[in-house]
């Protein structure tokens, strides 16, 4: 089952990316009776990010058991395979073509696959040092949490002994426990925001582990010739601070892994970094769906699993249900810098049932007040909001579905 020979020339649904969302979707498609479901995974093993998250808690909702990441990933793969999902590993999709045609590269060369529907579930990765504009030298020892986790959990190797963690999201805290696994001792957590990005309840963990926090720092700069030697920054009180260290963990600021998408004919939302979808998860080419973390925010595995299942049902409904023909669609527009993105980015106005009932809103900066929607300058809806970036914010969608105008809906915060 885990190989890349015997790749078919056509299939009903091809899923690009065998992480949590992709496997959940494939599994649900089979449960709903769809044949010829193919998962294309570029890594050696399917399972996605949980494969190198050697910690709890995974799987409570899906399996009613508390699992570590790698066990959860394995269970997802087994469940899908048992139901007849064909999982092809070390199989890289290299281009997306109109109407569900894929270019693929495997060890044995190039191939093509024609699918009735393609699902993009390529997930997220962390922003690199350059994407965060961290200046300084370019020595060895600067890696993301994801790379650290695969080194520690998949290969059992250590890139450094006393790193500094850049960032303070949940994954930054998880980096501490990853480090501990091989006796690596982080010497500081450095954050450019005034306070930690993760919820405050996790902050005592730093004290517990003896990792000092430097929040509100400016202009962090990496120093080192061959290997990292220090990190320098201006601290919250304006003093130049230099911390000796042999590595930098660049953590968080997850971005959709959208390379394929950006090189394709599909429209990308610059705000979310993922594809433009409607409430059914359908991209601007209706042969393409998208689900999971590729849609924007970095959500939990459990969320991705549920989204995968829901998207699968929408695909089944579309493939086996009545045709609804072409319908009008409404675009969502953002006219406020405080809003980073809304997902979905458009609505298809049709009789088709089963779409999302809520939209996700991502903030660009902390906001307190009302999120308001306008059509042609007229307010049609408003809802209270009090949140920060990187938090899950859900808003009802049904009000926009009743609209009879096809003018864009504009969102702002007041």
């Amino acid at each position: 089952m885990n190989n890349n020979s015997g790749l078919p020339e056509s299939c009903s649904v091809a899923i690009v990316g065998g992480g949590t969302a992709g496997l959940a979707l494939a599994t649900e498609l089979r449960r709903q009776g769809i044949d010829n479901v193919v998962v294309l995974e570029r890594e050696k093993d399917a399972g996605g990010i949980p494969r190198h998250c050697g910690h709890y808690p995974f799987g409570i909702r899906e399996y009613g058991r508390l699992l570590k990441g790698p066990d959860y990933a394995r269970k997802n793969v087994e469940t899908a395979a048992k139901l007849g999902v064909r999982i092809f590993t070390e199989t890289s999709v290299t281009a997306l073509h109109p109407n569900g045609k894929l270019s693929i590269s495997t060890q044995s060369g190039l191939a093509q696959l024609q699918a009735k529907r393609v699902v993009l579930s390529t997930g997220v990765r962390e922003s690199s040092r350059a994407q965060r504009f961290i200046g300084g030298d370019r020595p060895l020892g600067i890696i993301t949490t994801g790379a650290l986790q695969s080194m520690v959990y998949l290969q059992g190797i250590r890139p450094f002994r006393r790193p500094v963690i850049l960032g303070s999201e949940l994954v930054s805290f998880s980096a501490i426990s990853t480090c501990q696994h091989l006796g690596i001792k982080p010497v500081a957590m450095v954050e450019e925001n005034d306070r930690i990005v993760a919820r405050r309840v996790v902050q005592p963990y730093l004290t517990l582990k003896g990792v000092p926090l430097f929040a509100g720092v400016r202009s962090p700069k990496i120093i080192g010739r061959e290997r990292v030697e220090a990190i320098e920054f201006t601290d919250a009180s304006g003093n130049l601070k230099n911390i000796e260290t042999d590595g930098i963990i660049v953590s968080g600021r997850f971005r959709p892994e959208s390379a394929l998408l950006r090189m394709s004919h599909l429209e990308v939302d610059p705000g979310s970094g993922g594809p433009v979808i409607d409430q059914f998860g359908q991209c601007t080419d209706p042969a393409y769906y998208s689900t999971g973390n590729l849609l924007g925010p970095a959500e939990t595995s459990s969320w991705c699993w549920q989204e995968g299942v829901k998207t699968a049902r929408r695909i089944v409904q579309e493939l086996s249900g009545p045709q609804h023909g072409t319908s009008k669609s409404v675009r969502f527009k953002i006219s406020d810098q405080a809003i980073a993105f809304v997902v979905p980015q458009r609505l298809t106005l049709s009789e088709r049932p089963g779409g999302m009932t809520q939209m996700q809103v991502g903030l660009g900066k902390p906001a307190k007040g009302f999120l308001e929607a306008f059509v042609e300058g007229k307010s049609i809806w408003k809802g209270r909001i009090d949140s920060r970036p990187m938090r899950r914010i859900l808003m009802p969608l049904d009000v926009f579905l009743q609209s009879d105008s096809d003018q864009p809906v504009e969102f702002s915060i007041s």
Partner: protein
């Protein structure tokens, strides 16, 4: 007898560490020099103080093959660029090197810049680049529809192109090595004595004897001159250039190389694709004393991004892949400083500021002619061995498109296991991750190692002087 052995048997007998020519420095100029002189029949040794070649000025540049249209007329620099450009076009196919003949557009974004265009076109004509042509705003926007409509007008230089800055230099040196040259890395020249016939160089490794010494030490050219001939021909003041690299998705936004019109207040930045399929914006120009500080600066990078967006507004929606800085070995002189000390069998090649990639073959031929007066003993190699270089251009066939490649290790740059293994077992195997990156592009992509760093660490275990992962007992 194969070609390689045949070439060797033609050589005159000399003892192990006796060479016709010792080249100090394995930057692009040293690599081209080694190739030229080896093919001319000389027994060549290249001495590089770093653990890998291309570790200094040649590490970071804009990867443009220039025609030399804007070089100072009648300068040595202009002559070497023009000659280097011609020679590259003669050999790139045989060496399997990529070039994207994109052409360049020199664009004016203000009245002040616009007034300078005519003089630049005159200069191009003086430099023998006769196919430059004025273009109106409309025509430019038709050709490059993603450019900002803030532009005035400009002219095209059809001959400018994009090359692979590392594979190109590697191929020069690999061809030298395949035809009998030697490379010593981690070998710093400490001092030297010329006895009237032969140089004896004291290095950080073993002593080397050579008839001629050519200083191609780039950023350290002034230092090497001090150590060997006790002359102060020039002082290198490194000029840092920072660059921002945009993700491959941006490559659809531009075809030509977009060059600025330099004015009194600003030199302007270049926006161009790379053969690897990215878009490059840079460089800055910052004079500094340090020969090693190639650090980037957050404010400068943000400014480059902003300038890129000024020129191509849609870059605002594109992701940055990485940023880097290069150091140009600028001196107090405008022109290249190539000096031949005939009585001491010494040539100093200095001040190859920012055009070395374009001019290196020309410089090598120029120097080869200087030495030819001193009559090298060997005879030209008739059918030189041609090594197969790394094929990394996104616009040409890559290994992942062929069978039995071992699977893709680096997903962003589509680097295969076979490519990595070939390089690690090759004739000029890298000793650092940086070196492996330059030869394969592994970890060079948008994820900067998020997906593949662990696998690469495993594959290179025990091979690097500075390993990615620490040993277990460390």
């Amino acid at each position: 007898m194969d070609q390689y052995t045949a070439n060797h048997s033609l050589r005159r007998k000399i003892s192990e560490l006796d060479y016709d020519v010792a080249i100090v420095g394995a930057g692009v100029v040293g690599c081209a020099m080694a190739r030229r002189l080896t093919l001319d029949g000389a027994k060549v040794i290249v001495l590089e103080k770093a653990s890998d070649v291309l570790d200094g000025a040649s590490k970071g540049n804009s990867a443009i093959l220039h025609t030399g249209f804007d070089a100072p007329p009648d300068s040595l620099e202009q002559a070497c660029i023009a000659r280097g450009y011609r020679e590259f076009l003669e050999i790139f196919q045989d060496l399997g090197l990529p070039i994207l003949k994109t052409g360049a557009l020199v664009l004016a974004w203000s009245r002040e810049q616009q007034e300078k265009l005519e003089a630049l076109i005159d200069k191009a004509n003086k430099n023998g680049v006769n196919n430059v042509r004025m273009l109106g705003k409309k025509e430019i926007l038709k050709r490059e529809p993603h450019l900002s409509n803030q532009l005035f007008d400009g002219f095209e230089v059809p001959g400018e192109g994009l090359v692979d800055p590392w594979t190109t230099a590697h191929a020069y040196l690999l061809q030298a090595l395949a035809n009998g040259a030697q490379l010593l890395r981690n070998t710093e020249v400490i001092s030297g004595k010329f006895d009237g016939n032969t140089w004896r160089l004291e290095t950080s490794q073993s002593d080397v004897r050579a008839t001629h010494v050519i200083n191609c030490a780039g950023l350290y050219g002034d230092l090497v001159n001090h150590r060997l001939i006790e002359e102060s021909l020039f002082t290198v003041t490194p000029r840092k250039g920072q660059f921002v690299v945009f993700d491959k998705a941006a490559s659809g936004l531009i075809s030509s190389i977009i060059l600025p019109v330099p004015t009194k207040t600003t030199k302007g930045v270049v926006v161009c694709r790379t053969v690897f399929g990215n878009v490059l914006v840079g460089p800055t120009a910052e004079d500094q004393d340090s020969k090693t500080d190639a650090s980037t600066n957050a404010d400068a990078l943000k400014e480059l991004v902003a300038k890129g967006i000024d020129i191509i507004p849609q870059l605002a929606n594109c992701e940055v892949t990485t940023a880097y800085a290069g150091l140009r070995p600028a001196t107090e002189f405008q022109d290249y400083q190539i000096r031949h000390f005939q009585d001491r069998n010494y040539i100093s090649v200095g001040g190859i500021r920012s055009t070395g990639l374009s001019s290196s073959l020309g410089i090598a031929s120029y120097v080869s002619e200087l030495i030819a007066c001193d009559s090298l003993q060997g005879s030209k190699i008739k059918n030189p061995v041609i090594p197969s270089p790394d094929r990394l251009s996104e616009y040409h066939q890559r290994d992942w498109q062929t069978a039995d490649n071992g699977g893709i290790v680096c997903h962003c740059e589509l680097v295969t296991r076979r490519e990595i293994e070939n390089v690690l077992q090759g004739p000029m195997a890298p000793a650092t991750l940086q070196g492996l990156k330059r030869r394969t592009r592994v970890c060079m992509g948008r994820c900067q190692g998020f997906y593949c760093m662990a696998e690469v660490a495993k594959m290179t275990e025990g091979l690097f002087s500075s390993p990615i992962a620490l040993a277990n007992n460390e």
